[in-house]
């Protein structure tokens, strides 16, 4: 163990985002797209294109320009008409991981799971999750891109499937620190506009924004035929609001904004508003077939990821 710690300490900072134990847990799992995705190489995900494959898809009348090699001569023999035989194509995935780097993601909390002896903030949690997912996807031959943002896009790495691309993404993740306010919806719209090809959009965020705007933005992704996976990351304290003594709550996003109050006085109302927010998100995601996963930082990220992937695999058609 000590030897391993020594080895890790010798690693570059970005490499520390890949936890061998976590990777060991998830390396057998796959992140498979549920819908069709537009890949650029043959992979394991359903593709909207018809191509060479062993799985028959459909017949369609011949049109000028079609490759005559695809003509189904048997049909021609029977019906004296030209039909093209089409096969289902499987392609690789173009996944874009959106990591919320707003100030609120800096919240750490006392009940958060620890990693290397330190409780994880929501951003760190998201960073580890993003690293693990990137590793997983790249090793699936899928292309992975990364976008970090707060009120604006902080960094964008287009999707690549090269193994070396993993390092670039980890590098970016390691370099990113959470910053200013959250403005999820404009960023989502921006990314939805950038990604022309259908793919998988993975959002790692605490979603502290107007639920209606978020859902609207998610709808944009869906409109673009993207499959969306929302990983809603919350700290335990944010879910239980366990404070009992008079406290000065300082805003992590807006400098100088704070509020002094007796937490007991607002706990019920806070939890009610939070519950309403989460319920709206959950219902909205369900309605637009967005995969919505709730992850509390109390749970270690590897277990949470493994659990999520396993349950996703179980739910897979």
């Amino acid at each position: 163990m000590r030897e391993r710690m020594i080895q890790r300490s010798a690693m570059p900072a970005y490499m520390r985002l890949l936890d061998p134990a976590a990777l060991a847990k998830v390396h057998r799992l796959e992140l498979i797209a549920r819908g069709v995705v537009e890949g650029f190489v043959t992979g394991r995900h359903p593709s909207p294109y018809k191509g060479t494959s062993i799985e028959f898809a459909e017949h369609r009348p011949y049109a000028a320009g079609d490759d005559v090699r695809d003509l189904d001569w048997r049909v021609y023999g029977k019906s004296d008409r030209y039909y093209i035989k089409q096969y289902l194509e499987e392609t690789n995935l173009r996944a874009t991981i959106l990591v919320d780097a707003s100030g609120s993601m800096r919240y750490r909390g006392d009940a958060a799971a620890t990693y290397e002896g330190q409780a994880l903030s929501k951003f760190e949690y998201a960073r580890y999750l993003a690293a693990s997912l990137t590793h997983l996807l790249i090793h699936q031959q899928d292309a992975v891109g990364l976008a970090t943002f707060d009120t604006q896009m902080r960094g964008y790495i287009p999707a690549r499937s090269r193994t070396s691309h993993l390092r670039a993404i980890l590098h970016r993740l390691a370099d990113t620190e959470p910053g200013a306010e959250t403005a999820l919806a404009p960023i989502f719209h921006d990314i939805a506009e950038r990604a022309h090809r259908r793919g998988l959009v993975i959002i790692l965020s605490d979603l502290f924004d107007d639920a209606g705007a978020i859902l609207n933005a998610l709808h944009h992704f869906r409109y673009r035929k993207h499959e969306v996976l929302v990983m809603h990351i919350m700290a335990e304290e944010e879910l239980t609001f366990p404070f009992s003594r008079f406290a000065d709550f300082r805003d992590l996003e807006v400098r100088g904004q704070d509020i002094q109050l007796d937490p007991r006085a607002v706990r019920a109302e806070y939890l009610r508003q939070l519950r309403t927010h989460i319920d709206r998100l959950e219902m909205g995601c369900g309605q637009m077939r967005v995969d919505y996963a709730q992850l509390s930082t109390r749970q270690s990220f590897d277990e949470a990821l493994a659990g999520y992937l396993a349950s996703r695999q179980q739910r897979a058609p």
Binding site: E30, T240, L252, E253, R264, R267, A310
Partner: protein, 872 residues
Amino acid sequence: MGFYNILMLIGLAGVAIPVILHLLNRRRARVIDWGAMQFLLGSAAARNRRILIEEIILMILRCGLVALVVLAMARPFLSARPVIPWMLVLPLVFVAVICLAIAGSIRSRQRRARWVLLLVAGGLLGIAGAASAAEYVLQKRFWPAPDGGKDVAIVLDGSTSMHMPAGDNGRLNFDRAVAEARHVIDACNPADTIALVIAGGRAHGILPAPTSDRDAVRKALDALRDGSARAPAAGTLDAPGALAAAARQLRAGHHPAKKVVLITDAQHLGWSVGAPEAWVEPARALRQQVARDARPQVICRTLPPPKHLANATVEQVRFSRTVIGVGRPVDVTVTVRNVGDVAVPGGQVVLEAAGRSAQRDAVGEIQPTNSRVATFTLTFDAPGRHVVSARFLGDDAIAADNSARRVVEVIDTIDALVVGATRPSRHERDRAAFYLARALAPGPARAAPPADKRPDAPDRVRSPFAVTSVAARDLAEHPDLQRYRVIVLADVPALPEAAAGRLGDYVAAGGGLLIAAGTDADPAFYNHWSTPDGMRVAPAKLADERRVCPEPPGLAPETLTLPGMTRLVAHGDSEVDAVSVEAYRPLTTFGNAPLEAYGSLTNDDAILAGGRCGRGAVLMLPVGFDVAETNWQRTYFFVPFVHECAHHLAETSGANWNVRPGNTVTLPLPAGTKTADARGITVVRIRRDPDGAETSAGPPMPVEVAQDARHGPAVRFARTSEPGLYRFRLPEPLAAAWEHAPAARTSVPFVVTRDPRESHLAWLLPADMAKVAGYLDASGVRLDRAGDVEQLEAMVAGRIPGGPLWAYFALGALAALIGEIALTRWIAAQRRSHTVEPVAFGATDDDARSYRARAKAMVSLPDASHQHTGHA
């Protein structure tokens, strides 16, 4: 409002403690870097106003709690004479508390507002404190503690109304007064001397002189309460008299300061509210005992009256006649009235007469202000003065007014003197004197029952009158006119001057005179006849003779209004209609005074006129009972008519043995009684023990001897302020010669009746008390009213008196504490902060190990799923 521990008010600074703790708590607030500000701000915005209000109310309760505890510990009191009204001070404190609470509760950013509120609160507290200190100084100046010792006279109201239960424990007011007197004793300094006075109709000292021996005073008080001492005073409190008695007692004291403590129920009766002159002498007597620059103080402690009272009182004992003959029945009506405001359940009225078994009559429930009457018939076998006692046995508040005693005089013979125009002769049957004498005494004066009387036959009515006849010209020499209760002038034309003067004296001294002035009478004599003192004797003026023929007028029965006459006229055999009067002298009035007519003829001329002359009574008939004038004397109506007239005169001329408090009782003595013997007569007040035996309550009291040449010797007794039964004690030589009471030679009873107003409870109003204070103040005496025993103690001890308020403040503090706890709990219940479930989020398994096991179980299927996916 003042404070006994005014330094404790410094503790009001502690009101700031909750605010300081609150602010410190805020200052030490844990800083939490928070991400979900979106929801926190939304929650705070939704509840901000409510939270602020809750915090302000909580802070008010907490600051108020501290303030109330501090105020209670400062022992606040409501001064008997407040200078600065508490309605000014208390609101200042509470407004300050509210300002403090708001200052502590508002948001940290509103610092300017907070400082303003703190300054306002501090200013208000300062003003309240300064006002309290000023009140303390002013009160100290108004209630200076006397330098050196003081003489204190404790005057206990022993009037009848004090023997009523008041308060919840049903204790008698008199017992409460005794208990409070003990507090007064305790409040006095060891060097002070204390006098004890019991006051009712008359006030007297219980101790011979003021003493500093506390045990002696307490012992005397205990004796008053358990009844082993002299009977407490009774009747109506004479407040000026009580003050005078206290002044007499204090005269023996040697201290410079004098205080009179009067503990009373403040019944209005007896306070002489409208008579300032009654207070002058007592106040002057008290004022003279202190130095010029000092003022004696009268402290009046008024015991609170009961809220509701069910009290029956024997209001009246009435006899059908006051001159009662031996063996003659007399009707006694006893009136029991409810003078309270709650119905008195029914009971029994018991009538007792000496030597006779008690009679009982039940009376039903008596509603407030209503009365019930019990009727009895008494017959006395022996002459003399008999004590008749009526008692109401029922459940009511004041037992002392449930009994009444009366003395009735039972006489064997009423001596009557018939004065005729001439000496009796064989022609007397034609004269008025004959008819009138025979009418008064139809038979022998002391007739034995006939031997052949059948057992069922009614007793023959024996006349009580013993008649002596005398001629007018012998009247001047007739011995001892005073022994006659009635003298009849039977158609005497005129009296010699000496006889007229003597007879005038007789009437003025209380004798009864019946004048039958017929046609022979000389109007000039009767119309100008007067006593040596100038009082007119005849009640009406005789006019010239009037003859009415041939239809003479008769008697108008409805006009006969003498007592007993109505019953007589109503009798079927009275022959009142047969009477006709042919010749008479019409009666007219002297001057403008209306004629007091007791009967008229059918032609409206008066036939019977009455009036008083001095202490005596006179009736006048304008007929001479001559056969030529009227046939009256030959009818059955004549004898009873004359008897009723004579009875009426005898009653009014008799001595009064039942006197109202304050009136003088006169005991006439036989002629020739020596003054030395008369001086041996004493009067004792009689107390009836529970076993019925009579004992004297108090020492014998002397009488005043009156040697009046005209009225004969008599003794008078004027100290009749206390109701009850009294007896003249006659010395042995006088008792032997006492012919008016042969059955009880050694004592003659009389009764001082109770003032019925004493039972009709009406309390002294503050305005009345202010008037009395004004009367005393004019004479240099200060009157202060103590509302409770604490004030009484303070006034006696020289402290600032006031109604203690600390209990109210302590109760307020308790209420604030309970309110704070209740509000805290209510707020917690409203917030439901501890009951609200956290938001369900993510994996529901709280146990990480079980979650891990489930995740592993899922992970254990990768090959199958992978293969499946791969094949797909």
